[in-house]
Amino acid sequence: MTIEFETPKPVVQMQTVLQTVAENMMRPASREFDENEHSIPWNYIEFMHTAMKSMGGGNGLTPREDKPKEGAEKRPPIGYQLLAAQIEMLAWGDVGFYLITPGGGLGGAAVQAAGTPEQRAKFLARFAEEKPTYAAMCMTEAGAGSDTSAIRTKAVLDESTKEWIINGEKIFVTGGDKSFNAYEQLGKGFIVVWASIDPTAGRAGMRAFVVESGTPGVKVTKLEHKMGIRASDTAAISLVDARVPFDHILGSPTVEKTTTGFKGAMATFDATRPLVAASGIGVARAALEFLKEKLAENGVQIRYGLPRNKLTSVERDVIDMEIMVRSAWLMVLKAVWMADNKKPNALESSMSKVRAGDVTTKVTQKAVEILGPLGYSREFLLEKWFRDAKITDIYEGTGQINRLVVARQILGYSGSELR
């Protein structure tokens, strides 16, 4: 091992390509799809699907398997590093658009992490097919946000038909509409629903189920109106006696007295948290670059290298923002590098999310403040990024939940020792 910060060539190439996409396909349409919530940017979706298919596919949140050529020297895996850089760049373009980039998303990631090889083959192949296809994760309920043990949705096995019968109400399902509802432009997607198979067992009884698009009894009941990330659909989904085949359960159908099954599934988050952090950092970088551009246009130079007490307030702010954005990005890189190298990264993963949540909100808020009336105006995208940024500190574990995870890690405490 060694300490090195050279961006791998494939990452640089991918960044270059995606920057063009961001500049030409995302930024010009950003405002339109922010103002017209629930309209769908089909151009972007179709373009990205075609582009990703030609690059070998993947389901969006899990890296492609590296298949080295015969006889070629095995290179260190960089799948998660590529993903993080890809997400950062797309979010720099427009984080709402990034969230509706076709693919497996969090639903696919859950199948990847907790599914058997048969399940992976059965459920994940669709993302590389002709039409763009989505999968979403249904975890949150009205009474269960960060506290996932409070999930009330139940799955009961019908012994006669060997089907699971699921009942419950899910909210805040990112991509729920495109994953579950039938659109002629889209392939058949699925949602991954978290439910309890034994309400007396707490977390140990929690399982995820793959529920195919169009399953009877399942309905998208509402699309939320949000502060930001408006190009991305956030659905409420109700399940009434929804019947799901027996082998659609991810993990063991029997409940043991341990929570290893649940912990295994939660490990999905160790992989996805730095990726969500990356999406926030893309927004923060966009805001910082815009701020510097506007300042330069107005003849304000940032005098890097001067002692702090000789700098203007604006210069200090910009320099602090540079420090925040760069160091937050390096934390993401370290967390995904660990994931690529199969090193346990629960601490680094949550730290990167804590930092990104703080940095993304602070940087966008400060940028709006510094630019005054320009910052507050819808004439520019900065005010949109201010709104888009806030979700970074909320989804995929709020800043507070991630602080809890970090604290438990550094203190060596279990969930019951530090609640």
Partner: protein, 365 residues
């Protein structure tokens, strides 16, 4: 490629420094701070680990190649033990490393073997000046060329071990450029204060004012020789060293506060089990981890000659100064009233933590 783990050689060095920091520096730190005295034996033992020796090529009396990355790893670990002790052990680097980086061949041959060859001896450097708006790029101390010699005028502050120094690398303003000049001991016009600096922290480290009143040195004593040198790489190496030292102090504070919080009982549980305390610790750890990566990247960029290396070193040092203040303040806060009592080291960490905002120039890698 990205990679975030020290190599085997670096890890061995870090382990050796870590052992010295924990077993020698830390136990001596409180007494040294109170008595304003660092035992000579303590400094010698740290010197014998050979950080400077290992970054000096064989041709100049050492046994290795300089690496900024290795340097920041070692400095963090050393400062984790005690900042004053770490700065004392590394003081000869203030003189030798700029010569390694920017010195002429003659200067390397003349000075490096005697600095690295034997026991720890006080070779030092003078950069800081006693002015609120001190700026390493706009020094008040001046150098002028007169009759084939450089004449130095001005006053330097915070000069480690100046009293007994064999030689001081004095930075002065030459036509708007910051340039180093090697000033041997005993030259006419060089006056070191009798009194040591009395400071908010770093009390164990002997720091002095140095007056230069028409000090004359030959042209060959200009760092880099007649043509001089670029100051930026030197300043950048000071900045990453300062950032690394800040990381060490912050890490010390976090570790002490964490252990305390896991012992201290209140309201029927350990205070670490309270989110109010646990979140402080989580934020301290996150802040440290973030700035560590920024510091490592800056060091790596310096080693690989990236165009924005100096800029990132500036960002790292600036971020580290804020980080150190925030973390060491929280360290005291976690201990509450006990944190304010000098028997616990966190108040010293906090006083030392403030220094990184203004004391670039007391360490270099």
């Amino acid at each position: 490629m990205y990679s975030f783990e020290p190599n085997e050689e670096q890890q061995m060095l870090v382990d050796a420094v870590g052992k010295y920091a924990a077993n020698d520096l830390r136990p001596a730190a409180h007494e040294a701070e109170e008595s304003r005295e660092l035992p000579k034996k303590l400094i010698s033992k740290g010197w014998e680990i050979g950080l400077l020796q290992a970054s000096t090529p064989e041709a100049y009396g050492g046994f290795g190649e300089r690496s900024t990355v290795t340097g920041v790893l070692a400095v963090e670990e050393m400062a984790f033990g005690d900042l004053a002790g770490a700065y004392a052990v590394m003081t000869p680097s203030l003189f030798a490393t700029p010569i390694l980086l920017a010195g002429s061949e003659e200067q390397k041959k003349q000075y490096l073997p005697e600095v690295v060859g034997g026991d720890w001896r006080p070779y030092t450097a003078a950069l800081i000046e006693f002015a609120f708006d001190f700026d390493a790029h706009a020094l008040r101390t001046s150098a002028t060329l007169e009759g084939g010699e450089y004449v130095l005028n001005g006053e330097k502050a915070y000069v480690p071990f100046a009293k007994d120094a064999e030689a001081i690398l004095v930075y002065a303003n030459l036509d708007g450029q910051t340039q180093g000049f090697i000033v041997p001991k005993g030259v006419a016009g060089l006056a070191v204060s009798e009194e040591r600096e009395k400071l908010l922290g770093l009390n164990a480290l002997p720091l002095y004012r140095v007056k230069l009143d028409g000090v004359r040195v030959p042209v060959s004593n200009r760092l880099g020789g007649e043509m001089g040198h670029d100051f930026e790489p030197i300043l950048a190496s000071m900045r990453v060293a300062s950032a690394a030292a800040a990381l060490g102090v912050a890490k010390a504070s976090l570790e002490y506060a964490t252990n305390y919080a896991k012992e201290r009982q209140a309201f029927g549980m350990k205070i670490a089990q309270k989110q109010a305390v646990a979140f402080m610790l989580a934020e301290m750890a996150t802040e440290i981890a973030a700035i560590r990566l920024l510091t490592w990247e800056a060091a790596w960029k310096l080693d690989t000659g990236k165009a924005d290396a100096a800029m990132e070193a500036y960002l790292a040092a600036t971020g580290a100064a804020d980080m150190a203040m925030m973390v060491t303040d929280r360290g005291v806060q976690v201990l509450g009233g006990h944190g304010y009592i000098r028997e616990h080291p966190v108040e010293m960490f906090m006083r030392n933590g403030r220094g990184f905002a203004m004391l670039t120039g007391l360490a270099i890698v």
